[in-house]
Symmetry: C2
Subunit: 361 residues, 2 copies
């Protein structure tokens, strides 16, 4: 993706950085997996089967998933929890209960969001509601949610009530973000009821940032970190979430279908209120033609989607979104720089950040 903005660009990750990030993700998954497997094993067997499917461990038949399947995701949240504990000066293992809790909550939210958004596939496989039915998918999500709370409340470690409060605050924020995202759909493109970029930022922080911030903060809380460390990690994760969401929006319009797995202009075809669109609507000259192109209810055809993409680019929506992403990434770096001790964990977090952002962009 070409940089069309004057915002400072994060340095390209060196091979060493990328290796370090991949190793961090691999090591965290390996460290957390036994505790996560044990927790899921305590679920009702039917519910546990759906959970194992959503973690990418099993197929719908119950057979083990093909080796090397990517259905389980990178495990970013568990890595953040482990690094949060290390940022508190504790060994990585001190963050495992927090890592299990945030992975369970993340999977719960994917299950329920897929129902609400009507999404039929995720990571190349049918979503849980599509494979098992809506009712069972609601139940499986509830079970993962309850298991996350139980895991954290039963964990060894410091200040468990504070950890549970952090997790439930993130959950409330997740719900608020999802509620706003659903409500955005029926809001007009222009006029006093239109969605502004500030509302978008709040939605993205809640929907994507709250759990990333919670992951890193929770690892630090259970490891007994001081409040300044916890707050800095939480804020870093929240900015990272907004950056990810905006980058996702850019890919949803201009991403390479071979990489994203979605058709070109996918988010425009679905008339999604993404950041580049909202930023363009703030430009008076583009607002009227864009609202006309995106108005209506049917999926956009190729020509209209292509024209809308061109109007957005011309109005500066693409560069504004890139600048927005860079701004939040700069905030993440500032939060990491503010950590009380310049620790090895902060370097790990920087390596992870560079790798993720490059991978996404």
């Amino acid at each position: 993706m070409t940089v069309t903005t004057s915002a400072p660009h994060p340095p390209l990750p060196t091979t060493t950085d990328a290796d370090r990030a991949v190793q961090l993700l691999d090591r965290s998954r390996a460290l957390v997996r036994p505790a996560l497997t044990e927790a899921v094993g305590r679920l009702h067997p039917w519910v546990g089967e759906m959970a194992a499917y959503s973690f990418g461990w099993r197929e719908v038949s119950g057979a083990p998933a093909a080796p090397g399947t990517a259905a389980g995701g990178k495990g970013l949240r568990q890595a953040l929890a482990v690094l949060g504990a290390k940022a508190a000066g504790a060994p990585a293992g001190a963050g495992v209960s927090a890592a299990v809790a945030v992975e369970l909550v993340h999977t719960f939210s994917l299950l329920h969001d897929d129902i609400m958004d009507g999404d039929a596939t995720r990571r190349g496989r049918p979503t849980v509601w599509k494979a098992y039915g809506t009712g069972p998918a609601v139940l499986a999500g509830d079970a993962l949610f309850a298991l996350a709370v139980e895991t954290l409340a039963s964990a060894p470690g410091n200040d468990i009530p504070s950890a549970v409060r952090h997790l439930s605050t993130a959950l409330n924020d997740l719900v608020s973000g999802q509620a706003d995202d659903l409500l955005f759909e029926s809001r007009p493109w222009t006029g006093p009821e239109a969605v502004g970029p500030d509302e978008y930022r709040a939605m993205a922080e809640n929907k994507t940032g709250a759990l990333l911030g919670c992951a890193a903060a929770l690892g630090a809380v259970v490891a007994g970190a001081p409040a300044t460390t916890v707050t800095a990690l939480d804020r870093a994760g929240r900015h990272l979430g907004v950056a990810f969401q905006v980058i996702d929006d850019l890919l949803g319009i201009w991403g390479d279908p071979a990489v994203t797995g979605k058709p070109v202009h996918a988010d425009l075809r679905r008339r999604k209120k993404t950041f580049p669109v909202l930023a363009s609507l703030d430009t008076p000259a583009a607002a009227r033609p864009l609202a006309r192109l995106l108005g209506g209810a049917e999926e956009l055809d190729d020509t209209t989607a292509r024209r809308a993409a061109a109007v957005i680019e011309e109005a500066g929506g693409r560069s504004a979104a890139l600048a927005e992403a860079h701004r939040h990434i700069a905030h993440v770096h500032a939060c990491l720089d503010s950590l009380p001790t310049a620790s090895h964990a902060a370097d790990d977090l920087r390596a992870l950040l560079a790798f993720l952002v490059r991978r996404e962009m």
Copy 2:
């Protein structure tokens, strides 16, 4: 309902007992309402609107509910939490955070269960998924769940980690009970895969008893009660739940439609695997004809439902269910008798029990 069993019958509640029970429920609702309203007020406004509808405070339009509407339920769980605190020797107010948490969890479970069971009405009004859509109802349930955990984790009081563990255990049990209940539907009526009465008891204890037990126990935990008190109250609630479920099954077959609001033989028409049916299937002479009557997938017609009810009654399914309910009620009394100090709160709980059981039967 006529008692057709030799099981000891609980004494008829005196007018004083019934008055005392109604006052207890009213006073608990009045005591808990401000904190519950404050908690719901912290939700995302759209989600809060759905919550207010499910509590019976508002109509779908957002207008206040007609005065005297019963849509909010009796508030049994909040009363149990308040009495749990009193059983620990604390003032009623000490149980308010526990009461708010269990009411929120109860409402969450109604919202999600109605989706899973496809129920279109509850307490004479459209269910939340019917009124607002499935996705929004999933989200509102999640929000109430998260709010319950947050309320408890932020509460003043003793041993909050233990309180959160109690709540999450009850949530896990709720999910297991609902999972079993959903799976019972596709199990055969006879043979090695048939549902046995013991499995039914476990399902009913999880689905209905766990949260009643948790309500009373949680009130005691936050009020600093000793473990013996907490355990006795938890067990009392669990037995109460099984008794309620079995009584509900009896009403679902032989209840007066004018009282239950459901057609006569409603649960037989829907081929539900209720306790009277399962108990009859344990009788070899009745098993085959009953399995033949209830086999198939369509709703039963009047004649078949009437014949099935007669077979069940003749096979002793009705009296076995009554005996089962009485047995669990006797256990509730034994648990209350075992409370370390013969307190005023135990008498209140007995009055409440007598009132509820009479009202149901």
